[in-house]
Structure formats: structure tokens, C-alpha cells
Amino acid sequence: MNARRTLLLALGGLVLAIGLTFLLDPYRNYQLALAAAYLCATAGLTVLVGLSGQLSLGHAALMAAGGYGYALTSQALTSAGVNGVPRFLAATAAAAVAAGVLGLLLGLAGARLHGPYLAGLTLTLVVAVPAVAASVGALQGDRGVRIQFEGVPGPLKALIALEQWQAWVALAVAAVAVTGLALVRDGRTGLRMRAVRDDEVAAALAGIAPARVKVLAFVVSSVTAGLGGAVLTFVTQSVSPGAYTVSLSLLLLVAVVVGGLGSLLGAALGAVLLVLLPWLVGTLTDVLPLPSQVTQRLDGTLALLIFGLLLIVLVAGAPGGLAGALTAARARRRARGRPPAPGRTAARLAPTAGDDPTGPAARPGSVGPTATRSGEPVRTPTEG
């Protein structure tokens, strides 16, 4: 896909989504805004994991960095007398910078680590978030930072509700983030990331600096996660460590795997699922005639249970995720149009197509960097 087509597609999608907000009631618009915020983070994560083969369990911490960056800048600008669009843009930029810097540090460490070590480091980071919030005075501990109320701008006030305006802003930011990621993915950098993921030594021999590519992937992914945090802060008008827990980090991972690793469409599906599934489950348990104690216990946890089961089943059985299943369905339709292939090919295609839409690339092996026969990930010569 060339760059101009990507941009047109993004613009079209944004206009369509903004049109959609007129059909939704305020609560649905609020949910849409949340989904857009999560999309920033899941899209970044899916590019990091799917394209560069690095796993982060700490993307909630990067969102938190963005959220705090946004809130603190917004507060500072409010007291300096700056309001409206300039304040929003400056605060969002600050969010991107804050998350990007944290991502740069993580990426520098990540370039030297493989698989489980990086996962553990990022997990420790997200566990430390409440501790950092509690020990740095400006972050105000568990209460978090509140920001100035950001209402609908004057001329639009008569036309749209607050939730709709928030959805617009969230969708716009998500569109910018996802478009940026799509451009990276389709460009030279994306090609390099895939090369490093598949075979670091071969990539190094081809003149690519694997460490630099890995760090870049981390920074790009972190910046979009930070934008997600900024949007979340903008919508909820506050930021606190309670919003960026280990659970959120794990859920982001669930979302990108369930959606389909490496696919931006999958990231969008995952983000929508993150918002819709808990709500659906909550509605269902409210409707069912259950004792209130049971409902209380199921609230929140049942949705998590479904997420966890989905994750296990998909990684074990259908690594392509939802996006992979869509591709497979398309492939099946195309295959039906053609005359049956000779031999076993057709028979083999039918039962496995759902699991393996695009050949080896969608197998579990593609989840991470290729390992050598003994299971030992390839090391860069500099480590020797």
C-alpha cells in the first residue's frame, strides 16, 4: 500500500467515524472515545510485537507516562493562561515526548535483551508505576492529577454534546497515530523491522543495525501509547496510577493477540473488544436472575476470564487472531472461485485455512524473533 493511499484511507475512515458519532447516544460516544484511546496503544503494541518481535508487558506504563505528561503540561499551561486548542496540542505533544523518552530508555535496554528478559523488565516497570506516582510529589500519589475541564469549543456548542466532541478528538488523535504506524510499517523501516525479527544475523549482514531498528520500534510504539494515555486523560479529565495497572497492560496484549498480531485492523478490533466485552458481560449478568452477590463477583472478572481463555485458545490454535480469520475467509472465497487444485492441496486448504491464513508468517513462530534449533535466540556479535 503506498503512502498516498494510506493517507486517503485514514482520512476516509476518520470522516466515516466522525459521521458515526451523530448516530450514537452519549454513552456510546464515550465508549467510542475510550476505544480510540486504547487503539493508539494497541496499534503501537501490535507493531512492536508483530513487526519487531519485541514483547512489552508494560505498555500501560507508557500510557501512564503520556497521561501524566498531558496532565502536568495542561495544568502548567492553564496557570499560564493558555487555553483551548493550543493548550491541547502542546499537552498532547508533551505526552508523546514523555512516553517517547521512556520508550527510548526501555528500547535501549530491550535492544540488548531477548524475549522473556524484556517482558520481565517491562512488567517490573508497570508494577513500579504506583510506587513512582506515590514518591514523586508532583504526581500526587493515588489521587492523581486532575486537569481543567475541556468543554466543547464555542461554535460547536449548539450542535454537539460533550461526549461527541470528546469522541471526535479521540478519533482524530487515533487516526494520526494509526496512520503514522501504517506509514512506518509499509516503509523502509517496517521492512527492516521484519528483517531483524526474522533473522538478526542476516539483517546485520545486509547492513541493517539491528539494535537501532529495535530501539526505533520501541520509540514509535511508545509515542503512540503515550498519545493513547493523553486521549484517556483528556476524556476522563484526570490521570491516576489506578487507571494504568498491570491488568491494563496484560489486556492490551490480549487485545493485540486476539485481534491478530501485527495487523492494525486487528489492533482496532482488539481495542473495540476491550471496551465492548466488559460492557456486554455486565449487561448480561444484570439481565440474568442471579443473586446480587454473584453478580458483584462476576462483574469485571467474567470479562477477564473470557479474555484469558480467548488468548490461550488463539495462541495455541489460531495465531492469526480475528484479522487472520478474516484474511482466511477471503482466501477461502477466492479459492472457491478457482477450479479445485490437483492432489491434496484443496483438501489440505479447507480444514487448515482458518488457522493458517498466510502460511508460515502467521504461525506461532512468527510471534517473536526466530530462534536457532536449540531454542537459543540469536545473539549479536557484540555480546560475545
Partner: protein
């Protein structure tokens, strides 16, 4: 000075627990090249069983036995049922499966028992004993250290002195060769998981009375610290896990005592970052032995 000695003692007691839990991670890493990110959630399942048995029988000791057995069963089920599907080609698929397992186990426990913290009383006094006027370890701390060190010693004997231990090591280090020589590699892998999960459950059971209490997330922090310990010690090295466990325990205890409890997780993070930057595979890892 009294305070320093007290913090040092408490730190060493906590450190042995971290070391025991880290040993569980090391065992599984050696056998399957998977970092078991579900270790905390699996261990807490065993603790719930143990606390229930203690409640039914009125005996702490039956509860302790039940914890170890239940932990072993969880290890068996998890290895046979879920992590068998982890792709050998990708280090990430094992991590992702384990994360799915964490979410499933914790939400099942939450649905079954709720999210509240249930207090778990310690079987011995928690008041520090005074040695020459200086407050040192509590009887419960002494108990924890003895059980943890005893189990670690028993595991070491098992691995070094018995045929099963030899087969376990062979299956972990050279699966192909071991298989040719008649070792049932898959079974050894399962045994490794069972041993590791039982040890982790025991560590969690010992840790719970000193923490806030029992709830589905009670072992989360224990896991994070144990992971740090395992990495600092080098994921391959049981001796490294013990040494690193004691180090991390003491560092945490000193930071908590002198700078405040909120800074302890940050200190652990800093320690992890520093070690990983200096030695990306941990301090005691033997990269050459692994490649052979």
C-alpha cells in the same frame, strides 16, 4: 546499628523466600526455556487449597502439605493442558500463553472467592526475638528460613544425587541426546513443572501471612521480585538464585526501613535495569554451557 541488624535479618528471611520462588522459575527455564509468567497465579491456587484445608482440619501442617500437593497438581495440569502448546520456535508464545493463564486463574479465583483480602494467621509468633538485646528474627521468620533452605537443599540432592535428577538434567540440557539414550524427555519436563509449581506454592504459602493477606493477586509482587532475583542470578543457575535472592531481600528491606516502603518496587526496578545493562543474561548465567 540495632535497626540495621534487624533490617538485615528480616531482609535475609524474605530473601530466602524470593530465592525459593526464583528457584521454581529457574527449574522451568532450565527444562523448557520458558519463563513461567504464570508462576504467581499458579502458586496462589495452591495457597487457597492449603488455607481451606487448614480451615477444615484446624491444622497448619495439613494445610502446608495440601499446598505443596495442590501446587504440584496445578503444575501438572498447566504443563499438560496449556504450555505444551507453546511454540518451541518462539520465546514469546510461551510468555503469551502464560499471561493468558494468569488472567484465567486470577479471574476464576476472583469469581470463586471474591477480591477481598482474607487474613492468614502465622503459625508462630511474628514478634522479633531479641538476641543480646538486639531485635532480630521472629520465630516465624526462622521457620520460613528453615523450610525454604531445607527444600532447596532437598532439591539440590534430588538433582545431583539421584537417577531421576540425572535424567531431569539430561532432558533439560540435551533433549535430543537424552531421548536417544532412553530418557523420557516429555515426562521429565512434566516432572520439572510439578516440582517447580509445588516449590512456588510453598513459597507463596510461607509469604502470605507476612503480606496483606490472601486474595487472587497476593503472589503478584512475589512473582515480580522472584523474577528479578532469577534474572539477577542468571536464569540458569540455582546457586545464583539463592545468592541473588538474599541480595534482593536485603536491598528491599534496607530501602523499606530507611527510605519508606513505597520506594521498594522502584529500587527493585533500578536493580533489575542495572544488572540487565551490565549482563543481559544475568550475573551467574553460563552462556557457553547453554549453547552446547
Amino acid at each position: 546499628m540495632d535497626r540495621f541488624v534487624f533490617l538485615l535479618g528480616t531482609g535475609l528471611a524474605r530473601g530466602t523466600l524470593f530465592a525459593l520462588f526464583a528457584l521454581a522459575l529457574v527449574l522451568i527455564w532450565r527444562a523448557t526455556r520458558i519463563v513461567n509468567f504464570a508462576a504467581g497465579a499458579m502458586a496462589i491456587v495452591g495457597v487457597y487449597v492449603g488455607v481451606a484445608v487448614t480451615g477444615l482440619t484446624g491444622s497448619y501442617w495439613w494445610g502446608l502439605v495440601a499446598t505443596v500437593l495442590a501446587g504440584g497438581v496445578v503444575g501438572l495440569v498447566v504443563e499438560r493442558g496449556v504450555l505444551r502448546f507453546a511454540s518451541a520456535r518462539s520465546p514469546l508464545s510461551g510468555v503469551i500463553l502464560a499471561i493468558g493463564l494468569v488472567i484465567v486463574l486470577q479471574s476464576l479465583l476472583g469469581i470463586a472467592f471474591g477480591q477481598q483480602h482474607e487474613p492468614v494467621p502465622a503459625p508462630f509468633s511474628d514478634r522479633p526475638l531479641r538476641v543480646g538485646g538486639v531485635p532480630l528474627l521472629s520465630p516465624y521468620d526462622v521457620f520460613v528460613v528453615i523450610v525454604a533452605l531445607g527444600l532447596m537443599a532437598a532439591l539440590r540432592l534430588l538433582f545431583v544425587r539421584t537417577t531421576l535428577g540425572l535424567q531431569l538434567r539430561a532432558a533439560a540440557f540435551a533433549p535430543e541426546v537424552a531421548r536417544l539414550l532412553g530418557v523420557r524427555v516429555a515426562r521429565m519436563r512434566t516432572v520439572g513443572w510439578v516440582l517447580a509449581a509445588a516449590a512456588a506454592s510453598l513459597a507463596a504459602m510461607l509469604a502470605v501471612p507476612k503480606e496483606l493477606g490472601l486474595n487472587p493477586h497476593a503472589a503478584d509482587m512475589l512473582f515480580v521480585y522472584a523474577f528479578t532475583v532469577a534474572v539477577v542470578g542468571g536464569l540458569d543457575s540455582p546457586g545464583g538464585a539463592l545468592l541473588a535472592g538474599l541480595t534482593v531481600g536485603v536491598v528491599m528491606s534496607l530501602v523499606t526501613g530507611y527510605l519508606g516502603a513505597t520506594l521498594a518496587p522502584v529500587a527493585v526496578l533500578v536493580l533489575l535495569v542495572v544488572v540487565l545493562l551490565v549482563r543481559p543474561s544475568g550475573l551467574f548465567a553460563q552462556a557457553e554451557a547453554r549453547r552446547a
